[in-house]
């Protein structure tokens, strides 16, 4: 008994707490469901009192971590009644689930605001670690407000929802507080105003509450025309107009015209809405990382005299090649695409036209023909444009190129490309067609002298020699070149070579070592 009294004294004075009966393996006590107890009933008090100090003590000895918390939050009838908010709204917090877990994820509500609920009715489901748990209501009442949305993490002890507790749920032994509590809905009684004041929390959705807040309106002052006195959006707007009119002509923010508009026209926004910003503000975004680099590189590239060469490439054979690679693929980690074949054939063509794989020294007027074919692949990531390159493509097989491409792609996605991956490129491929567009006019990736933009592979009709129409997969490419180093003829011949290898991939075998 002594322990019980000490506990009562420790009870926090504000919101009512949940009592969750402690679990124990030693004492078999008839247990309620894991439910929410805004207040304790006299009967339970009686039960606890008669249970005797020894068993009470032993209960609290067994449970370790949870108990001190629970003890401090236990509430018993007398104190609970005295602390029952005059409004009749009770805060219902998330109970300790006995695991020593500090928080749970709210999975789902079984009720909504305004619902009448019965004692022991399931209110929501939460998840704590290994278990999903249905939380039931200890009381009969009405849901006033849900304070969390599914997916929220709720700390133990945090309020889950507010309940309007009905007469039957409130013990009758207390006097002055209870007499003023009437069930919501009796708005025609003389006590209706008192009702609202007393009940405090008016029935209204969060959106309506926000609107009232915007207007600086106390919801308690608004007559609700919804079910059970619920305050609706129209009620708030109407009140806002009336309030504006009542405040006198100096309240220029609300005019008669506006009132008409408020009450049903399309243009429903009075000038008070001027407080609400309907014209979006400018937003300043500092450029960082890849985007910042792009400013510099593109500014420099724009100074270079470019020319562009456009060609169409028939990809029918490439489509068959890719299909063959996929059908004969035994490694689940590898996904075959068109690009590695295009990269390899590009390298083969560059072997014949080494000026395409070079860089230009402006000061010394020298062209450095690069030995390695380090082919850069432009990648649009969420962090910006990245151009990592595959080193020494001339020495790699198509399969090796495929794996290396995948590696770089993953690093780019995670923003973990290292400087070595991004530097040392000798030519760049940009398949803007993956996103859209027929072809682009790319800018050079300095100090390279050539860049190739590839449009998407499209099925288009073609005419055969005998005049028949047949479908063909066509890709349009645009080669951007540094006209200080490359001329049109060189680029055209190089492109012809590349095109031939793509359209006749078996020719790659001729040069295979």
């Amino acid at each position: 008994m002594m322990i019980s009294r000490r506990i009562w004294q420790k009870r926090p004075p504000t919101s009512s707490w949940i009592f969750l009966r402690p679990y124990t393996s030693q004492i078999a006590v008839p247990s309620p469901s894991p439910s929410l107890f805004p207040v304790q009933t006299p009967s339970l008090i009686g039960f606890l009192s008669s249970y005797a100090a020894s068993s009470f003590r032993s209960v609290y000895k067994i449970s370790s971590l949870e108990m001190p918390t629970m003890v401090s939050r236990c509430c018993y009838s007398n104190h609970a009644l005295a602390d029952l908010p005059a409004s009749g709204i009770v805060d219902v917090p998330l109970a300790q689930t006995g695991e020593g877990i500090a928080e749970c994820e709210l999975l789902k509500w079984f009720v909504k605001e305004g619902d009448e609920i019965e004692e022991f009715q399931p209110l929501c489901a939460v998840q704590s670690d290994k278990a999903t748990i249905e939380i039931t209501s200890r009381y009969k009442g009405k849901v006033a407000q849900l304070l969390h949305a599914p997916g929220n993490i709720v700390k133990v002890g945090e309020t889950l929802l507010k309940l309007v507790v009905g007469d039957s749920a409130v013990p009758t032994s207390s006097s002055d507080v209870l007499e003023s509590v009437k069930p919501p809905g009796s708005e025609n009684s003389p006590d209706s105003k008192l009702n609202k004041d007393t009940v405090g929390g008016v029935l209204a959705t969060p959106a309506v509450r926000n609107l009232a807040k915007l207007y600086g309106i106390n919801l308690n002052d608004v007559d609700g025309t919804g079910k059970d006195g619920r305050v609706l959006k129209e009620d708030v707007l109407k009140y806002a107009v009336q309030k504006g009119a009542a405040d006198g002509p100096s309240a220029a923010s609300v005019s008669a015209d506006c009132r008409e508009q408020l009450l049903g026209e399309e243009e429903t926004y009075p000038q008070t809405f001027a407080e609400v910003k309907w014209y979006p503000d400018d937003k300043t975004v500092p450029l960082r990382g890849f985007q910042r680099t792009m400013v510099k590189t593109m500014s420099m590239a724009a100074k270079i005299p470019h020319f562009h060469y456009v060609e169409e490439i028939n990809c029918d054979a490439l489509v068959k090649l890719k299909a063959s690679f996929q059908n004969n693929n035994s490694d689940p980690n590898i996904k075959h695409t068109f690009l590695p074949s295009l990269i390899k054939s590009l390298s083969m063509a560059m072997s014949k036209y080494p000026f395409m794989n070079s860089c230009f020294n402006e000061e010394s007027l020298e062209v450095i023909l690069k030995g390695s074919h380090n082919i850069g692949i432009a990648m649009a990531t969420q962090h910006g444009l990245a151009v990592p390159n595959i080193k020494n493509v001339q020495s790699l097989s198509i399969l090796e190129i495929t794996k290396e491409l995948s590696r770089l792609q993953q690093l780019a996605k995670d923003n973990e490309l290292n400087p070595a991956d991004n530097s040392g490129g000798t030519i760049t491929l940009s398949n803007i067609g993956a996103i859209g567009g027929k072809f682009g006019a790319p800018l050079l990736n300095l100090p390279e002298v050539a860049i190739i933009a590839m449009g998407r592979i499209e099925k288009v009709p073609r005419l055969s020699d005998d005049g028949n129409v047949y479908p063909s997969s066509i890709m349009t490419v645009n080669i951007g070149a540094d006209h200080r180093v490359l001329d049109g003829a060189t680029v055209a011949k190089f492109c012809n070579e590349w095109k031939q290898l793509i359209e006749n991939p078996e020719l790659l075998l001729l040069q295979m070592r």
Binding site: K130, T132, E134, K322, P332, N333, F338, I377, A378, K413
Partner: protein, 266 residues
Amino acid sequence: MIQQQGKKVGLPLMNLVRLNRTPILKQLHLEEKLLRKSSTNWCIINDGTDTPAIVMGISGKPSELLEIGSVLRDQVPVIKRFTGGGTVVVDKGTVFVTLICNKDDVPGVQPYPRSIMSWSGLLYNQVFKGIADFQLRENDYVFGNRKFGGNAQSITKNRWIHHTSFLWDYAEGNMAFLKQPARAPEYRMERGHTEFICRMNEYLPRTDFIEKTTEAVETYFSVKNVNLEATEEPCGAEFVPSTRLLSKQELEEALGPQPEIIGVSV
């Protein structure tokens, strides 16, 4: 004998359903239905599932828990179950044991996760007594410090379910579908899957395990063997389970945007 029978007479009834290679999705649908719609106690033992599958807890996020690329490539079904807990890869080497109980039929066990978990630990202690160094460690069943059984629960107003997937055997390659989880028990100590788990088949025969489990359940309940048809009876009207198979689209969305290599679209 009379005393034993007398003891059994006083025990609450439990229906035992034995399944073999029943698809895990079907099993989970059945379990959820029995939990929510039946008022009887049930024990379900499914000796393996037909094809490999990944089963996540109710709030599992594929992007955090799975190597989605591999999952999509191998077209492994991904299921989100109605109970909490972690992610498992199940196949024919997994033995499933499920207990669905009325809270009042298990004296001394409160309808809270820890209480149910502890009670289950006592039950399986009987199964493995003298066979292996069995323990309930945090929320897992272990031999020594290696996990062989994972648990999950769901607790409703008057009933609860506690189900376990036991690693009788497993394919190493399948574990590669799972990422190292962000939330892991302390005793795991950063170990990778293969260092953390172990196979039950190294300790006792499969049939022995199932038999001993049934015997252990019989110490708490009066067990009656029933067939699958019996599960149809109590529930009547159509039940819509929340356990579901994730679609390919959901998994692809979870994979997130790949850098558009301004790379040739395939």
